[in-house]
């Protein structure tokens, strides 16, 4: 898969990143538990989750939502190496059966330490219009020569 080059010059404040939609299942949470090594039972054991005061049952790993937000950014970038900073904080719960839409917006562009940097706000929202995660990413892009 060769991706199109993305140039600093062509990115404008206010630009939206192509959105990414995910439909997590309990199966995927088990898969992510195994792949990440995070076996906390609130992510796959309904009764454990309820006993842990999560009355609606299991929730998506925050870091899985972060993984989708990272994919949102790297899908947009020519190379994941362009990603310099990435941070998310978790808000509402994402659950199996939800439709999670990841979006991003360019909020600033500037030159620093010889790099051409672009800051993006990113968010993952469920179908109940709740923000499951919000965050930011900083990417370094080449200039058109």
């Amino acid at each position: 898969m060769s991706k199109q080059q993305l140039y600093y010059d062509d990115v404008q404040v206010g630009d939206a990143l192509p959105p990414l939609v995910k439909n997590p299942t309990t199966r995927q949470l088990v898969q992510y538990a195994g792949a990440s090594g995070d076996y906390y039972e609130i992510h796959y054991d309904h009764h454990f989750a309820v006993r842990s005061d999560l009355k609606d049952g299991v929730i998506v790993h925050g870091l899985l939502t972060a993984g989708w937000l990272a994919q949102l950014i790297t899908d947009w970038l020519p190379s994941p190496l362009a990603l310099k900073k990435f941070g998310v904080s978790y808000r509402s719960m994402a659950r199996p059966g939800d439709t999670i839409t990841c979006t991003g917006t360019v909020v600033s562009k500037y030159e620093k330490d010889g790099l051409h940097l672009v800051d993006c706000d990113i968010a993952a929202e469920n179908q109940r219009d709740e923000k499951c995660a919000i965050g930011h990413a900083t990417v370094a892009l080449p200039r058109r020569s």
């Binding site: 898969m1 925050g62 870091l63 994919q71 994941p80 190496l81």
Partner: protein, 146 residues
């Protein structure tokens, strides 16, 4: 203010080393549902300008630090949640690398939110490769809730 053992702040964990396995990277991106071949296929990764298969940005979370000394936080809450993760990237992590991770508690703070009192625990992480290069730094925010 929440009571805890301040002498534990800034104490670095013993380093722990991880072999970065291409199968582990593949399983991780399969679990996320990210189809990018640079995480699976050596030729595709090289075609995209990498030495070999690279790890995706959040793969760093699989490099768990050695346990830190007990903060002895005095708090009744029993729900613990992941509040956030932040990373700064300096170098790629490649399949075949050996990554060493160390951690330290940076701070503990009490805040009152929608669900009552919460305690935030901030942990700083440093990831270094087998060449002694710091590949990334991270900060995890853990939340204890009533």
């Amino acid at each position: 203010m929440v009571d805890f053992d301040r002498s534990v702040l800034g104490v670095e964990s013993a380093p722990i080393h991880y072999d970065v396995e291409k199968g582990a990277i593949r399983k991780f991106v399969e679990a996320i549902g990210d189809p990018d071949p640079i995480y699976r296929d050596e030729k595709a990764a090289q075609g995209a300008g990498f030495q070999t298969i690279v790890a995706p940005p959040t793969f760093l979370c699989t490099f768990r630090a050695q346990e830190l000394p007990d903060l002895k936080i005095v708090f009744g809450g029993r729900v613990r949640l992941n509040g956030g993760n932040e990373y700064e990237y300096y170098k790629p992590v490649y399949a075949g690398d050996i990554v060493t991770v160390t951690a330290q508690y940076a701070n503990v703070a009490e805040r009152t939110g929608r669900t009552g009192k919460m305690v935030f625990v901030f942990t700083d992480l440093t990831f270094t490769n087998q060449h002694g290069e710091v590949v990334a730094k991270g900060r995890n925010t853990g939340i204890m809730r009533e």
